[in-house]
């Protein structure tokens, strides 16, 4: 009898999700296209260089035969044709894909870190802190951030990034001192008003709280001011040194790209924070959190060891859908000439260059544009598929 017993192998949550994902043909299509795109973008430029000798920057000489037209239609030598200067467009599209995908992934990563921490803390703390933190998100949501991003990119683009780099030390010290101040004020508030609540007249209490609030604001302003003084005395030298070091090693194109990561990451964390908060709210009253609390795990530990991993499904889904939207914003900014700049190129900036010649050399615009559309298409399908696989409850039937 014992020989007939079959051992049933349990499937994990992730194994289950993977199976469901593989059943979804469109998601598999997206996954395959994306994998091919990543391989093409990483290995492609080397292969082209090895096979034909063209790179993204190589301008061949003596190809115009005297009539000054250097842009050739697609041929076996140049599968996507060449651009205005005669550079191989395939090499440029692959090189640009590196930047576009990098911007998408790194900015999403930035938004992931900010959004997950913010949402998890708000959801776990609950009550007044949650209310305040979510109100801030609501308010930022209503701002036409694209206007501010445009201003940020254009005034701090190019050599002006040095100013931001130079201000980095003082920004960090301000941030740290404000966090310390917030913790101190929070504990002081609890210590003072926690015991007063029932003993004192309500009007007097309100007055005291008001005074405390004004005092807190004054302390915050004082902390910022002290930091600025400190900056003038000590940190400015450090900031200048940092800027010098930076400008010696890095060219302008790179600093524009770094600025893009920062700007795009900063504006795309809002929805992530909302998603994570919702998840945490529904998780935090479950038994395993109570068990963790009972065994003396700290709030920090509960949030990042217990709550965040359990909320991972929707986070992954949303992150997959953030990548295409960030890439679209990057392309839009590059199209306006504010994003990725020469000598670097992205799909957005290539398409923007191609648009000028659309009626004579349409391939200059169509190839980068279609490559980008195909990538976004796959990312969106993959995101949809992942949502169905990882999050069957919110499945869109």
């Amino acid at each position: 009898m014992a020989e007939n017993v079959e051992i049933i192998k349990g499937t994990s949550l992730w194994g289950d999700a993977w199976k469901r994902l593989l059943k979804n043909k469109l998601a598999v299509f997206g996954l395959v296209v994306l994998a091919l795109m990543v391989i093409a973008v990483t290995a492609g430029p080397y292969i082209i260089r090895w096979a034909t000798g063209f790179t993204a920057d190589y301008i061949p000489s003596n190809v115009d035969e005297g009539d000054l037209v250097r842009s050739f239609p697609p041929s076996t030598l140049h599968p996507m044709g060449t651009d205005d200067s005669g550079r191989d467009l395939l090499a440029r599209v692959l090189q640009g894909g590196r930047i576009s995908l990098m911007v998408g992934i790194i900015s999403t990563f930035v938004s992931l870190i900010v959004g997950v921490s913010y949402g998890a803390i708000a959801g776990y703390m609950g009550g007044r802190i949650d209310n305040l933190m979510m109100r801030i998100v609501d308010i930022i949501y209503a701002i036409p951030y694209i206007l501010i991003v445009i201003v940020l990119l254009s005034v701090f683009g190019g050599p002006n990034t040095l100013v931001l780099i130079g201000a980095l030390p003082v920004m960090i010290t301000i941030f740290i001192s404000l966090i310390i101040l917030a913790v101190i004020l929070y504990t002081a508030n609890k210590a003072v008003f926690g015991q007063l609540d029932e003993k004192v007249n309500i009007y007097l209490l309100t007055l005291l709280k008001l005074i405390f609030a004004v005092l807190s604001i004054a302390l915050v302003v004082a902390a910022i001011w002290a930091n600025l003084q400190l900056n003038e005395a000590v940190l400015a030298g450090f900031g200048d040194w940092l800027g010098e070091k930076y400008s010696a090693n890095v060219n302008q194109g790179i600093s524009q790209i770094l600025l893009l990561f920062f700007a795009l990451g900063l504006v795309s964390w809002l929805t992530m924070a909302r998603v994570v908060r919702g998840q945490v709210l529904s998780l935090k009253n479950q038994e395993f959190v109570l068990a963790a609390k009972a065994t003396g795990v700290s709030s920090f530990g509960i949030i990042f060891r217990h709550l965040v991993p359990n909320a991972l499904g929707p986070v992954i889904v949303y992150a997959t859908l953030t990548v295409p939207s960030v890439m679209l914003t990057e392309a839009f900014l590059s199209f306006l000439g504010l994003g990725v700049q020469a000598p670097y190129a992205s799909w957005g900036s290539l398409a923007s260059e191609g648009i000028k010649n659309i009626s004579i050399f349409p391939w200059q615009m169509i190839f980068p544009g279609v490559t980008m559309a195909l990538t976004l298409f796959s990312l969106n399908f993959l995101g949809d598929g992942l949502r169905d696989a990882l999050d069957p409850q919110t499945r869109k039937f």
């Binding site: 209503a142 036409p144 951030y145 659309i358």
Partner: protein, 329 residues
Amino acid sequence: MLSFILRRLLIIVPMAILVVTVTWGLIRLAPGNFYTDEKKLPPAIEENIKKKYGLDQPVYKQYLLMLGNVTCRTKSADEVTANGLQFSVAGADFKCFDFGDSLKYVGDSVNTIIFRHLPYSATMGILAYILALGIGLTAGIVAALKQNSAWDYGSMALAMLGLSVPNFVLGPILVLVFSLGLYILPPARWGGVANIILPVITLSAIYAAYIARLTRAGMLEVMRSDYIRTARAKGLSETVVLLKHGLRGGIIPVVSFTGPALASLLAGTVVVERVFAIPGLGNIFIQAVLNRDEPLILGIVAFLSILIMIFNLVVDISYGFLDPRIRYE
């Protein structure tokens, strides 16, 4: 309800001030000036420019003056302006929303520029959103009602395409086909109705796609809910069930999408204006930023922020009419 509206209206003021302050701070923090050029100015002329634009005053005074320009401040005796709101209280003359003069468009006040170029962008934006609503709602409802049919898959695939093709790719392709290939529509510029067709289609594609997806999901969820079963059990006709009960609940996600859509419609119009050479506010804004035309930048930022925040408020209020379960505290 009234207190909710009042509270939200009051929040708009500090928000707009915050947005303007951040923008101003960014412009001021960056090195350089609107008058610095390749050619260096003689110091005497630079002094005069600084005096004329109040740049010789301490920073906090400049900030307050800027803030007064974009909100309200008292009018000094020698100022002649008819822009914005003008009124006098207790003998003092006040003016509001007079954003000052542009630094680069000589002789034009910011208010004039905004209201000269806003109509182009606004027309395009509104028409595009209406078109997107029409296409998106129809496609979404059809897809939800005929779930898993060819209609469903077809419209959802199209919606996915709309989400993935950037508008600066779609626009030129449309121009290539309809203007340079078939010669039926003008490729660019503002003129008659024919000129506006391609830009509006380009602009609306991504919103139509979003709305179709949201409507489909919302309708599918609502059509399975208990109150729809009740409505059917009461013996209502399928049309009434669908339009009066189903649609009202099903389009709530679409309504909440309107807020973010309006903010991103701004970005969309900038691209479409560039592609189709339309003299809208988006292009003016980009030009102003590149020129560092401070009053114009701040004026446009303040104007659009307030406009969008008011629209968002209207959207939030309209929830209550669509879904009686939502209450305002």
